[in-house]
Amino acid sequence: MSNNNADTLLRVENLKMHFPIYRGVFQRQVGAVLAVDGISFDVRRGETLGLVGESGCGKSTTGRAILQLYKPTAGNVHFEGVDLIKLRGEELRHMRRKMQMIFQDPYASLNPRMTVEQIVGEPLIVHSAATGKEIHERVENLLGLVGLNPAFATRYPHEFSGGQRQRIGVARALALQPSFIICDEPISALDVSIQAQVVNLLEELQEQFNLTYLFIAHDLSMVRHISKRVAVMYLGVIVELTSRDELYLNPLHPYTQALLSAVPIADPVVAAQRQRIILEGDVPSPANPPSGCRFRTRCPIAESICAEKQPEFRELKAGHFVACHFAERFL
């Protein structure tokens, strides 16, 4: 993935995030959880890149490592051409204004002791982006933007429903006028009818402010709906990356195929006709991943080479990357 496009906003190269495991009286390191183990991708300005995978595949860790909320073990993260990993202190803080995050749980990610005005206004104060009366005006503006009544600014988070709280989270992320927002499972804690409200809001804001999203989710239907391109993760690596329609119509990786076939479709006629690929077993532990291809223990087409050699993440069609020794079969 070396196209040095001018419209590339974020470039992640061989990113690794390993968490050490300590044991015993002397707390010696006995191993590491390979949460993210060498992934590369670009995010283009104005697009939404979906990052899907099951729990424990490293998708959230990827998001956090990009924002330098964790210090990555290895790799580069270029944002607007600047390598974030080399930045320290004030320089990094300055870059953070341009990158924000919306968290999964709207109940846990808002401080219950702060009013909405304090929550949404805090980034403005921390980054000295506004002072005094201006803060109040900006907060009212932001609340209006996300569809909340500005008069609610003096209320506390518990007075709001889940969907409204997620709107507060969105307002907070927008406060510093970022160009890039990582949405980490922003709707999975919400009811179905509320999910659509929040997704529509995110889409409207994207058009209005030309925002770039990294949309992390496990819900493949929602990712297909909101993304331009989609990356599929399995056990710390990206197994497939391509445009959304290509991924859903011509999946080349056996894991993507199984994942897509497992998604329930709200249509009994289609559901009855569909051939489902049921994967056996569970995802192995990222502390002790299988040799070679990570997916081989559950893969319906695995052969001996899969245990010996990690498949290269290669471009098999224009813009369609896949990491599987046998992906040609599905072309």
């Binding site: 179905v192 009818s193 889409e203 496990h218 493949l220």
Partner: protein, 330 residues
């Protein structure tokens, strides 16, 4: 009606809270035929779980209270039974699988101990018999080396395997009815597919009657024969599964289906969204509970709460409006 295995009539349940009395279930009636799979769909707080817990008398009281209704099971009203009698029904004749397999298993007892308990209590098996039957049950739900794994503790099982254990436990006394409450919600999609597949296989093998409670209209489409949609403590639509998805007729059901993106969607359009949030009912509604969020709302909706009425064969809705014409239904 003798052909109904379970016949619930006019069930009403309330909860006393510091903020007032919450009317969680407001007159729910449904029948369950032998051998069918009934899907119960709705968002959090719609009363779907409280309905089933009321039927099994699992509502903590206080604060909960079943204030009206009947639930006939083999001609006997479950709601009038003594505590002793209902205990013989629960787990033995009607059993339940819960949402979170992590918190519904006891972490300090082995899987074997927990599986053997209902066998000893309800079927009076000896330890040895119970142990053998437990191993059988575990292999039936697809856990390899079942005999060895009986000695393991819940934390040694993955989420999907724990849910398999819950299913094995629920099936241990060969119940007439299995109630699954959001049984696959906490699981990943590939594991969810494993579990729904397992349930379908067991249903066909054992001829089980199932009530499948979920918020996921996708799961129900592939599993149920008949579906009930709940909102604000009422059943607002009831239909056979094909009719519901081909011809959803209540504005809420239409909205729910419209707000779901489909994994096989090819054209991008904005999702249909239902504005507002589900109600918390401190008073039993005198109007349609969905009226504040409804696009088709009319004068009458604010004054009278509609009853379930047929719109087609095996298809009933509680709504004053004919959504196709936007005019009152005649």
């Amino acid at each position: 009606m003798p052909d109904l295995l379970l016949d619930v009539q006019g069930l009403e349940t309330t909860f006393n809270t510091p903020d007032g009395v919450v009317h969680a279930v407001n007159g729910v009636s449904f029948g369950l035929k032998e051998g069918e799979t009934l899907g119960v769909v709705g968002e959090s707080g719609c009363g779907k779980t409280v309905t089933m817990h009321s039927v099994l008398r699992l509502i903590p009281s206080p604060p909960g209270k079943i204030i009206a209704g009947k639930a006939f099971f083999f001609g006997q009203d479950l709601l009038q039974m003594s505590d002793e009698e209902i205990r013989h029904v629960r787990g033995a004749q009607i059993s339940m699988i819960f949402q979170d397999p992590m918190t519904s298993l006891n972490p300090v007892l082995t899987i074997g101990k927990q599986l053997e308990e209902p066998l000893a209590i309800h079927l009076g098996m000896s330890r040895k018999q119970a142990e053998e039957r437990s191993a059988e049950l575990l292999s039936m739900v697809g856990i390899p080396k079942a005999k060895d794994r009986l000695k393991d503790y819940p934390h040694q099982y993955s989420g999907g395997m724990r849910q398999r254990v819950m299913i094995a436990m629920a099936l241990s006394c060969s119940p007439q009815i299995l109630i699954a409450d959001e049984a696959t919600t906490a699981l990943d999609v590939t594991i969810q597919a494993q579990i729904t597949d397992l349930v379908k296989r067991l249903r066909d093998e054992l001829g089980m009657t199932i009530i499948w409670i979920t918020h996921d209209l996708g799961v129900v489409a592939g599993l149920a024969q008949r579906v009930i949609v709940m909102y604000g403590g009422y059943i607002i639509e009831e239909s056979d599964v094909l009719g519901l998805y081909a011809n959803p007729s209540h504005p809420y059901t239409i909205g729910l289906l419209g707000s779901l993106p489909r994994v096989d969607e090819t054209e991008h359009s904005r999702l249909f969204s239902i504005e507002g949030a589900p109600p918390v009912l401190y008073n039993k509604p005198t109007a349609c509970p969905f009226a504040p969020r409804c696009k088709w709302v009319m004068e009458r909706c604010w004054n009278e709460n509609p009853m379930l009425e047929p719109v087609a064969t095996d298809h009933r809705i509680a709504c004053w409006v004919d959504v196709k014409t936007g005019r009152p239904r005649s």
